[in-house]
């Protein structure tokens, strides 16, 4: 019976260790939203409505250093009267852990359809704003933004 040489033994042991090691690699980062998940989220939020590009303007800096606080301004071309106003504005992202960002509810009392806030971005990606008008139509705008320092996923504490 041939004895196992030291070399063979180590090779076999190494192989076992490597496969165990691979199996032990667990997914640490949360799954990120993908463009298709964003489309799904949009469908879930606005229903079956048809979204047309235009009317709404999403202002984001083209390049941002810190993804933790990205200023965004959304303005909609609307007279904001009782008959014709913006009902809601939704913001979605492609590659954040979740596609949802914020929903603003406006009405004729807003006077002007212009809102601003600060958001987090986990990666360079497209951000989409969709507005819902009082006549039931949906309008959208997308902006591509480059992020140098990502938000959301860094270690805490």
């Amino acid at each position: 019976m041939p004895r196992t040489s030291r070399r063979e033994f180590l090779k076999a042991a190494g192989g076992v260790a490597a496969s165990l090691g691979l199996a032990a690699v667990i997914k640490v980062e949360p799954a990120r939203a993908t463009p298709s998940e964003m489309q799904e989220a949009i469908r879930k939020t606005i229903g079956a409505g048809r979204v047309t590009p235009g009317k709404v303007k999403l202002e984001l800096p083209p390049l941002i250093e810190n993804g933790n606080a990205v200023p965004l301004t959304i303005s909609v071309d609307s007279p904001m009267t009782e008959a014709q106003h913006v009902r809601a504005v939704h913001v979605f992202t492609e590659k954040n852990p979740q596609p949802y960002v914020v929903t603003f509810h406006l009405g004729p009392r807003a006077g002007r359809a212009r809102v601003a806030t600060r958001m987090r971005l986990a990666d360079s990606q497209n951000v989409t704003a969709i507005c819902e008008l009082s006549d039931g139509s949906f309008w959208s705008d997308s902006v591509s933004i480059v992020v140098t320092l990502a938000a959301c996923l860094e270690d805490g504490i």
């Binding site: 603003f104 406006l106 806030t117 987090r120 504490i157």
Partner: protein
């Protein structure tokens, strides 16, 4: 713990569109971050912000973890009558803060 900053003009002409800025101190913990030992830091965010003008809702927002820490909002409303603007933030862990500002409309 929480403190809010509100910027509302003290006086306005009737029918004028006034701009309102609000800022509240809050960590907006996303629930996606982990500590160095791998434990998930539980989510702690503000879920909703509402602004009412003499009791009528004029603006509201549904927030998600993608809103930055210390949520900041700029929006506008029409100065219809003298009165009070109330701002309410509600969120996880029973978070609820209400602030108000008075406005004189001439």
């Amino acid at each position: 713990m929480a403190s809010a900053l509100i910027n509302v003009p003290a006086r306005a002409k009737r029918g004028e569109i006034i701009e309102i800025k609000t800022l509240i101190s809050h960590v907006m913990e996303t629930g996606f971050r982990r500590t160095q030992v791998g434990a998930v830091i539980p989510r702690n965010i503000i879920r909703r912000f509402v602004c009412t003008y003499n009791g009528t809702e004029v603006f509201s927002a549904d927030l998600h973890p993608a809103i930055s820490a210390n949520p900041f909002f700029v929006f506008s409303t029409v100065a219809t009558e003298s009165g009070t603007l109330a701002f309410t933030w509600t969120g996880d862990n029973g978070f609820s803060v209400t602030e108000s500002a008075t406005i004189t409309v001439e």
